[in-house]
Symmetry: C2
Subunit: 369 residues, 2 copies
C-alpha cells in the first residue's frame, strides 16, 4: 500500500540520503522521442543499455519502458535489468522520478515533486509533460512506497545534491528561474527544501554549467563525494564562458561551511573540450515546434561531474576527449579509492541534453539504525 | 531479476497450489474497451472497483491500468489497492496473467502460457491480443519472479483448476478446441499439463457452462473447495441446455478418484435463472467487426462457481436472482465455514463475458516447508 501523505519528511523524521549511501536499486527511463534523440533514439538506446548494464554489475536496475518500446527494450537489455512498462514524455528519471527519503527505522518514502519539463510554458523543453509528472508516483507505487506530493512546487532531482548530513547544494540559476516557482521568494524556496529534504544548510551556487538547458542543474556542475567533500566542474581556460561560473562556485565553496560546520574540500574536475553538435547529428533529429531544437554547432553542457554513484561503482561519462577523459578517470579513482570507476562513451546522451546522472535515480536501501 | 527459464516446473520441483492456499496478493486488469463493455466500461469499472475493494479487505490487490485510464483508475480505486501501469487488450487477468507455481523452499515462479484471445483466428473473441500475451511476463517481472514460457502452447488460467495435491480439472470442450492446440493430441496436452502444473491426474470434464464464449472454461462450471471436494454448477431444470452438461460432469466426478485415490465429494451449486442481454445493454456496446457481438437476448454464461477464493474470503458474483443468489450464498457459507462470503452484484461483469474468477489471479505466498 502506497499512501499519499499530507505531512512533510521533516515532520515525519525522514531525510534524503547522500547518493554514496547504500542503494536498493537504480531506476531509469527508456529514450525514444525522435524530436530529441537522433535517428529514432537508436544510438541513445544503445548508450542507455550500456549504462544500465554497467550499473547492473553493482546493484539491481529497473528500466521503465513505454508500451511501444517494451518488446524492443526487453530484448536488448540484459536479463539482469528489470523492465517495467511505464509512460513518459522523455527519459530523465533523475528529474521526473521520485526523490527518496529514509528514516532511522529503515523505512523509505518518495517525494513526488511537481514536474514541468524544466520551465513549463516559460522556457520548458517540450510540451506536454503530463506523463513525466506521473513517473514519481508510479515508481513509488510499484515499490509500495508512500509519497509526499508537492502540488504546485516545481523541482527536478537534478537540481539538488545532499551530503546526507544536513547540507544541500543548489544553484540560483535553476531554483530561482522564472519557469519554476516565481511566486516564491528565495527564502520561501529554501524553507521548502529544508522541510522536504530535511536539511539545515542550503549552499546556493550562482550558476550551473554554461549553456545547460536545465537552467543550470547543480548535478552537472557540483556534487558531494562524501560529507565534507565536493567535486566541482572546472576549466583552466579563462576565456571559456564556463570559467566565470566555476570560479564563482569555487570561491563560494572554499569559503563556506556545511551543516556540521566543516570547511569543504573542493576537488576540481576539468570539463572536456567543447562538445558541439555536428551537422549530421542535428539533421538526425525530427525538429518540431515546441521541442528544444538541436542545431548544428550548439555547445552541449558536457561535464564529467554528471557521473553516477552506485554500490561500489562510479559510472562516468566520457566524450572521446584526448586529454580530459583520462584525467577525469584518474581523478575519480583517487577520490573514490573503494569504488570501481566505469567509463562509458556518452556523446549520444549529452546530445539529448543531459548525462548519466540525469538518466538515473537511486532508491536507497532502508537501513534501520 | 526475473529470468525466462527453459526447464519445466516439474523438472524444478514447482507445483501449482490450490486457490484456497495462502496468497501474497491478487492481480487484476482494468476494463475499458468500449467494444466489449457498454457505455465506455463505466459500469464495469464500478463493478471492478467493488471487487478490488472487497478483496483488499482480505489481502493486497494490484490493479494494472493502461496509460489512458491510469489517472481515472487511481482516483476511483481505494488507496489500499496498488495501481500499476500496464497495457492489455482486455481485462481478464485470470486468462492472460501468469499461473503461479511454488516449491517447498518458498520460491514462486510464473507460467507464461501463450495467449490467443480464446481461439486465435479460429474463434477468438477479438484481434489483436498482443498486449494480453505480454501481461504474464510483465506481471512476473514487476515481482522479480522467474517465468516459464510455453511458446506455441496455448492455455488460459480459467481453463484449469487444481487441488494443489496432484489433481487437475479441465474440460475437453476448451482444451481440445480447434483454436488452441489442434496440432496436439489429448494425450500430448495432458502430458504438457502434467509437466507444467506438476500434477499426476487430469480429470477431463466434457463441457463447461452452456454458451460460454471461452469454449467452456472449467472455472465457470467446477472448482475445488479443498482437496477431495469440488463445487459443480448445477441446474434442476432438465429442459435447460445446461442440464446435460452438469449431469455429465456430475456423473464423471462422482465416479472418479483424485490423484491421491480419494473419491470426490461433489457440492452442487444451482445456476441463476438465465441472464439475457437487454436491448439497452446491447446498444451500449460499440459493436465493431472482429469483436464478439453483444446481441439483445443472448444468454450469458452466468454461474456462481465463478467466485474467487482469497485469504479468509470468498468473493461471490450475484445476479439479483430472487431465489438462487441467496441459495448460493448459504451454500458457500456451509462449504467454507472459516471464510467470509462477500456477494457482489456482478451483472456488469458477466455482460463482458466472464465473472469475478475470470478477472482475478492469485499470487501464492511462497511458504518454505
Amino acid at each position: 500500500m502506497a499512501r499519499t501523505l499530507n505531512t512533510t519528511p521533516r515532520q515525519d523524521g525522514f531525510r534524503m540520503p547522500g547518493e554514496f549511501e547504500p542503494h536498493k536499486q537504480t531506476w531509469m527511463l527508456w529514450p525514444e522521442r525522435p524530436d530529441n534523440w537522433r535517428l529514432g533514439a537508436h544510438y541513445a538506446q544503445k548508450a542507455f543499455v550500456e549504462v544500465a548494464a554497467a550499473i547492473a554489475e553493482f546493484e539491481p536496475v529497473t528500466m521503465c519502458v513505454s508500451r511501444e518500446q517494451y518488446m524492443h527494450a526487453r530484448s536488448v537489455l540484459p536479463e539482469s535489468v528489470r523492465v517495467i512498462e511505464m509512460s513518459y514524455n522523455d527519459s530523465w528519471m533523475r528529474d521526473c522520478g521520485p526523490t527518496f527519503v529514509v528514516n532511522d527505522k529503515g523505512e523509505v518514502r518518495g517525494i513526488d515533486w511537481t514536474f514541468n519539463a524544466w520551465g513549463g510554458l516559460v522556457d520548458g523543453l517540450y510540451f506536454p509533460w503530463d506523463q513525466d509528472d506521473l513517473v514519481a508516483k508510479k515508481t513509488c507505487e510499484i515499490e509500495n512506497i508512500d509519497t509526499y506530493r508537492t502540488e504546485g512546487f516545481v523541482l527536478e532531482g537534478g537540481s539538488i545534491h545532499v551530503d546526507g548530513e544536513g547540507t544541500l547544494l543548489v544553484t540560483e540559476e535553476c531554483l530561482l528561474s522564472e519557469g519554476r516557482n516565481p511566486h516564491m521568494s528565495k527564502e520561501e524556496i529554501e524553507q521548502m527544501l529544508k522541510e522536504y529534504l530535511n536539511v539545515e544548510k542550503v549552499i546556493w551556487l550562482k550558476w550551473g554549467i554554461y549553456n545547460d538547458e536545465t537552467n543550470g542543474h547543480v548535478d552537472n556542475i557540483c556534487c558531494f563525494a562524501r560529507p565534507g567533500e565536493v567535486i566541482l566542474a572546472w576549466t583552466d581556460d579563462e576565456n571559456d564562458p564556463q570559467y566565470e561560473r566555476s570560479k564563482a562556485a569555487y570561491d563560494l565553496l572554499a569559503s563556506t561551511t556545511d551543516a556540521k560546520g566543516r570547511k569543504l574540500k573542493v576537488h576540481k574536475l576539468h570539463i572536456p573540450r567543447p562538445v558541439l553538435i555536428t551537422k549530421e547529428e542535428s539533421e538526425g533529429v525530427n525538429a518540431i515546434k515546441g521541442t528544444l531544437p538541436r542545431n548544428e554547432g550548439d555547445r552541449q553542457a558536457a561535464s564529467y561531474v554528471n557521473f553516477y554513484i552506485c554500490n561500489g561503482g562510479i559510472i562516468l561519462p566520457l566524450f572521446n576527449d584526448p586529454v580530459y577523459d583520462e584525467m577525469a578517470e584518474k581523478k575519480l579513482k583517487e577520490i573514490f579509492p573503494d569504488r570501481q570507476v566505469v567509463g562509458i562513451y556518452a556523446r549520444e546522451i549529452i546530445l539529448g541534453g543531459g548525462n548519466i546522472h540525469c538518466i538515473t535515480q537511486q532508491q536507497p536501501l532502508g537501513i534501520s539504525k
